[in-house]
């Protein structure tokens, strides 16, 4: 009992540290990668190749004045940035980085991840509401509408590996792929579309381009973060990156065989796959334009939801027949 507790605490600390560091690097990476996609250079001045840019950014944000708008709901306003970061970090708890490196391999891991992912919309809406700012409120409302919509295909597509492996535990799902095939390899006609839908829904969940309607700069200033300054803004920003990072890890575990791979230890493969998915997310983000609100809903309800329902059915049939 106490052994399990120690294990949990130690791994939590390690994983949180790793994820936060990775988030800082992700900041640098995104700027560098986006720049190269546009044949620019990106940060070059702070440290070698601008590697210390996240540190500089953080230091700058720490120096900023911490403003709470006069008519804002101060308690909620101050609380939600922390909640956003915590909710995003929480999902990292069940990600199996290798057969042994996992903070807590819950037997309902997939459910937990999706539930935590759904919770992230709460602080976002809270921020919009508490800011007492029309742009923030509009952003918050859009975020809720979008997240709730995309929760459905995300959930359904995540059900596919669950059905195929017969378990909600992420460790077991990965092990099932390690024993047979990765779900994107076989049955690929179910795995690949499900993976595709999962990535799209994940993008939408994290409010990234092309689904960044909640913070559409050209319409809503900065959406829910309009009124936030300094470190609180940084927390929101960080939560977004952590969410993308953790969701990439979950996607790698669900569809890409997690730690499974030849020659190298499992941890290496898991990290490699997570980063590949992460890069793909940024590749999409910096190549596409923003959807219109109605297009977003049409994509979700007319295409992704029916497709994912079909895929769940196909997975069930596959499990029964094969």
């Amino acid at each position: 009992m106490s052994e399990g507790l120690v294990h949990g605490v130690v791994y939590s600390v390690v994983i949180v540290t790793v994820v936060l560091t990775a988030t800082a690097m992700a900041l640098w990476f995104e700027r560098k990668f986006a720049a190269r996609l546009q044949t620019r250079l990106g940060p070059t001045m702070v440290g070698p190749s601008g590697l210390l840019q996240p540190v500089a950014d953080l230091l700058k944000l720490l120096q900023k004045e911490d403003i709470v708008p006069a008519n804002a709901d101060a308690v909620i306003f101050n609380l939600v940035p922390l909640l956003a970061a915590l909710a995003a970090l929480g999902a990292a708890a069940v990600v199996p980085f290798s057969p042994s490196v996992v903070a807590s391999d819950l037997d309902v891991g997939v459910l937990y991840v999706l539930a935590i992912g759904a919770v992230t919309v709460l602080p976002v809406f809270g921020a919009g509401w508490a800011s007492n700012n029309k742009l923030a409120l509009l952003g918050g409302m859009r975020a809720v509408a979008q997240s709730i919509s995309y929760e459905v295909p995300l959930l359904l597509s995540a059900m596919v590996p669950v059905i195929l492996s017969g378990s909600l535990r992420l460790g077991t799902i990965v092990q099932a792929q390690a024993d047979h095939h990765w779900f994107v390899v076989w049955p690929f006609f179910i795995g690949i579309p499900a993976f595709f839908i999962f990535v799209l829904a994940m993008l939408a969940e994290s409010n990234r381009i092309p689904f960044d309607i909640p913070e559409a700069e050209s319409e809503l200033v900065a959406g829910v973060t309009t009124e936030y300054t300094g470190i609180k803004f940084a927390l929101f920003y960080m939560a977004e990156y952590i969410h993308t990072l953790v969701a990439s890890a979950v996607g790698a575990a669900l569809f890409l065989g997690g730690w499974d791979g030849p020659f190298r230890p499992g941890l290496h493969w898991m990290v490699l796959k997570t980063l590949l998915l992460f890069v793909a997310v940024y590749w999409i983000r910096w190549s596409l334009l923003r959807f219109r609100s109605d297009q977003l809903m049409a994509l979700c309800w007319k295409y992704l939801v029916p497709a994912s329902v079909l895929l769940v059915g196909a997975a069930a049939v596959w499990v029964v027949l094969v």
Binding site: R36, T39, R40, W286, L288, Q295
Partner: protein, 292 residues
Amino acid sequence: MRSYFATAARALSTSLRNLLRRPVTVEFPKVIRQRAERYRSSFALLHEEDGDEACIGCLQCERICPSQVIAIKAGGKRESPISGKKRGYADDFVLDLNACIYCELCVQVCPTDAIVMTREPEVPAYGREELVLTMAKLYANEKSKHRAWGDATRLNGMQVPPKAPAAPKPASPTAPAAGSPAAGPTAAEKANGGSPPAAAASPAAPSSTAPPVAPAEVPVTGNAASGSAASAGPPPASPPSGGAAGATASAPPASGTTPATGASSAPVTSPSGADAPAAPGTPPTGSGEGGS
């Protein structure tokens, strides 16, 4: 929606291809691109060869400046401490770069080539005060900075063809006949009229090279006289234009019109360009514009 996916695929492939290309960014403070030929960033006031200030305080630049950034305190006429001659001076000369539009009109209008533009220093500064060029700064720029490409003499040399004070003198009776219908008869007259003496001054050598050279240089300055010279080619025109180019440097008597073609090509061909401004500088007598 289907078309959106096609577009999205194209966007993704485009950005992926960009990833493999070299970034186009030039890291400015570290790498400074080659400036354009006519790049100019600041001003300098010059001294005469004998060490006297070239500016005579005539206020022409102050008057012509469209944004009124030049403020001169004219010192009136007094004896030059160097040459002993009586001439004008500027007691103070301030040029405010903050509002300067870099039109170079002040340079162009200067009768003594006293003010020129420079390629250095770079304009960005930490305060507005740094961009106010005082007289001391302007004279300091003379010594330390790269000159820009133009001064008054050269800029004026690029203007419209000279009025024809000296040209019609040897006007030959064949001129009207030679004038092509397209070009203005006066221009053709000028071109042909100027030619006989020029051809006489330098007969053989230039005439052989002339025909190809003339048309190539003509369009650059859009000079009516030289244009007609090229179009009036058939009869006696090919020696004239060649003669003109040759005469610029060699024959002062022909300086009335013929240098017009020579000087107008100055920015293009450097040797003749170097010669052209020198010519009017020495005899600035009658044809101030025409000579250059």
